[in-house]
Symmetry: C3
Subunit: 461 residues, 3 copies
């Protein structure tokens, strides 16, 4: 599963893998920038492409004492020569041994960039030049890469108040690539977020509603959801640090909404408000069909010094435990029995796979379990996931794969790693006599492609 | 371990398995209905036998949008044709791929019912007819199946206020099968249960004690325990949603008891009362020798709409985390050093195996670890169990196997799956050189048979 | 991995193991008694050497009903004949099947003591005599064994108020073995510990400071740290039952210090005080270079009857869950970005490996993850550790191996088991194509030796 590009898999896994290896890539959740395909400009340089935007990569160097500024990150790093950054990265390449980042990067170097030379201090310059040259060619523009990667659909993640101009530009361009937005209303719904007040103002401006009024606020949200659907969106996404959905009576929620607008809620009230709003979102999803994604349990920006000096997304977001049964209870008891509603749950707390998520997905008609998220999108993470969820939830209550990345070039590598993981898992099942060859072929295709299409309602173009 | 009936196991596992495959089945904990053997009536039809009573099975269909009423479950389903129910089940049979339910059902179809045809939409009717015909024959009556399955002892689970009439009828029948009751006093001890008041009334009636008085209440409980022992019981069973045993002083518990009788306790006080009563039960077990079983951490009936409209046991019970060390502390510090006392602990929180249960069982003379419970009674669940508990607790602090089922026909399949899991685990140990062949043979027999007999004190007939 | 001494490992693991098997042993954390090497006296008898001081061993017998007094432990056991104790142990030897204690003891019997006879009731006496004879010979004195085991450095764990006389005696002896102390200030810093008041008095005496004054108290701590460094210490160690570091303002901490000195703090305030003092220790480590070890999550002496009648360390310490991200937050936000500071974290909550410890170590420059601790120092525990931490933290954020034992004779066995575990893990990686042969050789050496030297700053003699 860790295998390098081209490597064979043992025993029964290889034919299973070969049958799904070249299926189209469905990427229903991720953080690529739609601007890339709207304008199809060349990527600037190897460091800006591969290192600086990828906190999976630079966090490892930081953990071993490399200052972020030396990597050209943050205000103190803004004049750093990208070639120097790439050299520094190459010198620390052995730190990545054993990590999925190394597998993804090697796949990118060899398969996508065609570089046969192993990376190291002595080869950093020549590899830098090779990549820099490639980036000037038409074949390495965003649209050409998208087509070459065989991506049939890719979802970006967009603030609810985005004007979706990049998506409009893509649609107007005549290019055939399918890039859809995802409705992400966290800034509007969670008063604990820094951008909450500004987002409310933007919402009021865009929708011409008095968002201080709760009914108007809900209406404005419906309005934005409709705009996203019109732009091709099939899903919403919610980042929930501490999962505790709620259903408050109308008087209570109106009072909290007034506090949220005024910015005066306590931390507890803010979380109760957000918990209620998630249930409102689920109700809207039951009406308009947008698939609801809940990513729960990430404690954001735990390194305050770094956050204050450089900003968010610096590798200091840390997973925490999540009470899925208790946390989802109020929402599910409001709308969870509706088979038209679809909710995909993502956890960072692997202990909850077998204990909570698999039993929940094996019961509630609305639920599916998202693939291993973030640090768990790795060979062992994928193995633990199948080990823990399938026996209780079956395969049809899973959501297929997401790459969830902002590192565009890693997309084929991530899907390849997943497909290898699927093949290894299913080969184990045939070795034990559970599944026969026809069954494994069906399930492999489900996991590699069909479940993602079905879960995210991406069938129609 | 997932292997279908008759399938071989790899390498050293096969001879280990073959040596234990045909040992008598000891079933010291489960939920079969003693009425079956008391009256030995034919089972009504395939749907009523295999689908409708088994929430492991119908929950998977429900999770994919099949209404329970269509399966003949609940008030809206009561007139459903069982053949239609079976067809619906057959159509959704692929949903079970990868689940232990599929392994158990396939074992039941092939081994017990002798059906070679694979199940599917096209074969549903012919298989339905085959099973329906079999159920009319003497060989498929409850007692004949019990004998054919090679069950040496089977425990049912019975409310403390049961009159044990079915067990008396079995004893009086002259049939040789050993069916023993298990003392389950949850309704008497946990004021949070719906049936608490009615159970107290029934206890007062049966024992002619004034159960409003705490000393009389304890005496009435002793009286019922004695009645159960006289009917062959060797164990008690306790369902503990939130484990927090306690030992209160006499004044406190008498006050709480008055509140419990009056039905006026707060949720916190009700749990404190139940926590104290568990310690009382442990003390009585130390006196009368009944093995105490604690099943902790199941959050019951989390789907309120289903509970209100259909009832309990609809697949919406959900596991939760359990603090075993803290939760058992007061009870163990009262009686846990007594080697005559035996307590078997069952968890739904696999993270507690290596962290808490194995260290506890490796220290306290009274404790043994129960086998994987509920969703974890599965190939990977069994593997994770051995992986997590043996190194710290050894084998002799385990309790052997329970099938814990109300699906009588699945009993041979469940024990077979466990025995395959034992063989695979032990073959791993020989591959690594830890255990030699003689040692694995001894331990295999322990795990498949002897530990269950010894743990549950089922030696004497 | 479970393999007995001399056993081969499968496939690619054997050559990896052979290349690291005979590397010097680095033992940077453990609980051996420095008195052994200071005075180099013969060990008294087999029971006192192998059974009575080792709670890993006697807890298993206790868990199956053997009274501790029968093993010569506690006030009621003090006149027990050691030969009888050894016989009792031999009779219960099968209880250890599947446990690492059995692997360690078999390694000790065969490799260190040269005993070929399998242990059992019939051989207990002859083996007892063999060991007793060996213990009278010069080759089995502490210093000779230390040299024969190939230990390049061994750290003991010493109260902060130790006079380090044994270490001085070793240094003065001319013997070349490197035994260094470790600074353990728990009794001074955690007001919940029984010895807190006496330790403060001892500190005042040794340092001639008025430790009632907070500034003087800090100065006294610095003084003891300097004394430890002068005696060769490179590390501190902290036992933290409930991890919650803190940084209080000066007024608050001075108030709490007054309460700590007076012995009047509530449990909550005592933990806040200890939490602050851990941050003070981290700041001192950033200054003086002592590596900070945090062992968190052990609930001590959970069997009160045993604690009251026999004392601590009787096998009743029980692991619990730990919130690493929240618990370390205040400390890390104070000093965690300093790459000169080194903190090693040890957990008993394996669920935190992938969820918290690996992401933290993969970010904070100061952090490394300690090896599997206590019950998890076992074949499967080692496998789960590598499985859970490497993909997210890489190899360079690990701390290598600790044996953490007070059972001196088990040290070679424990390091051998780790090295086998390393080889099995790395062989898996080559099988999957992740690592090539040169890379596995490098990493094997890192994990078996170099990382421990580097993490604990043991390079210079």
């Amino acid at each position: 599963m860790h295998s390098p590009p081209g490597a064979t898999l043992p025993g029964a896994a290889m034919p299973i893998y070969e049958a799904i290896r070249d299926l189209p890539i469905v990427s229903p959740h991720g953080h690529c920038d739609p601007d890339w395909w709207a304008h199809d400009r060349a990527f600037p340089n190897p460091a800006a492409l591969l290192i600086q935007p990828d906190h999976y990569v630079f966090r490892i160097l930081y953990s071993q004492g490399v200052p972020l500024a030396d990597l050209g990150i943050g205000p103190n790093g803004k004049d750093r020569d990208p070639r120097e950054v790439f050299r520094l990265f190459a010198r620390h390449w052995p730190l990545f041994l054993g990590t999925p980042s190394r597998i993804w990067l090697e796949h990118t170097f060899r398969q996508t960039l065609g570089i046969a030379t192993p990376l190291g201090p002595d080869t950093a310059d020549v590899i830098y030049d090779q990549i820099a040259d490639l980036l000037t060619t038409p074949a390495f523009r965003p649209r050409a890469l998208f087509d070459r990667f065989g991506i049939s659909a890719l979802a970006t993640t967009d603030p609810a108040t985005s004007d979706l101009a990049d998506h409009a530009a893509i649609a107007a361009s005549g290019w055939s690539g399918r890039i859809v937005p995802t409705f992400r209303p966290d800034d509007l719904l969670n008063p604990a977020r820094q951008g909450h007040g500004a987002a409310l103002d933007a919402l009021a401006d865009m929708t011409h509603r008095d968002v201080r009024d709760f009914a108007d606020f809900l209406d404005a949200l419906r309005n934005r959801r409709a705009a996203f659907r019109a732009a091709g969106a099939t899903a919403t996404d919610h980042d929930v640090p501490t999962l505790a959905t709620a259903w408050l009576d109308r008087g209570q929620i109106e009072t909290l909404h007034a506090g949220a607008v005024a910015g005066t809620l306590s931390a507890g009230d803010a979380n109760a408000y957000y918990g209620h709003m998630l249930t409102e979102m689920a109700q809207m999803s039951a009406e308009d069909g947008l698939v609801m994604q809940i990513h729960a349990g990430s404690r954001r920006n735990t390194n305050r010094q770094l956050f204050d000096s450089v900003g968010p997304d610096m590798g200091a977001d840390m997973p925490g435990p999540t009470d899925w049964v208790g946390g989802m209870g109020p929402l599910l008891n409001r709308v969870g029995n509706d088979p038209q509603l679809r909710i995909v749950l993502f956890t960072l707390d692997e202990g909850s796979y077998a204990r909570e998520l698999a039993p929940m997905a094996g019961h509630w008609p609305s639920l599916r379990i998202g693939p291993p998220w973030w640090f768990h999108d790795s060979p062992n993470g994928i193995r633990r996931y199948f080990d823990s969820v399938v026996e209780t939830a079956g395969y049809h209550n899973l959501a297929g794969f997401n790459d969830d990345t902002r590192a565009f070039l890693s997309i084929p590598a991530r899907h390849d790693l997943w497909r290898r993981g699927v093949a290894l898992h299913l080969a184990d099942q045939t070795d034990r006599g559970t599944l026969n060859t026809a069954e494994t072929a069906d399930i492999a295709r489900l996991l590699a492609h069909d479940l993602a299409v079905d879960t995210y309602r991406l069938e129609a173009g």
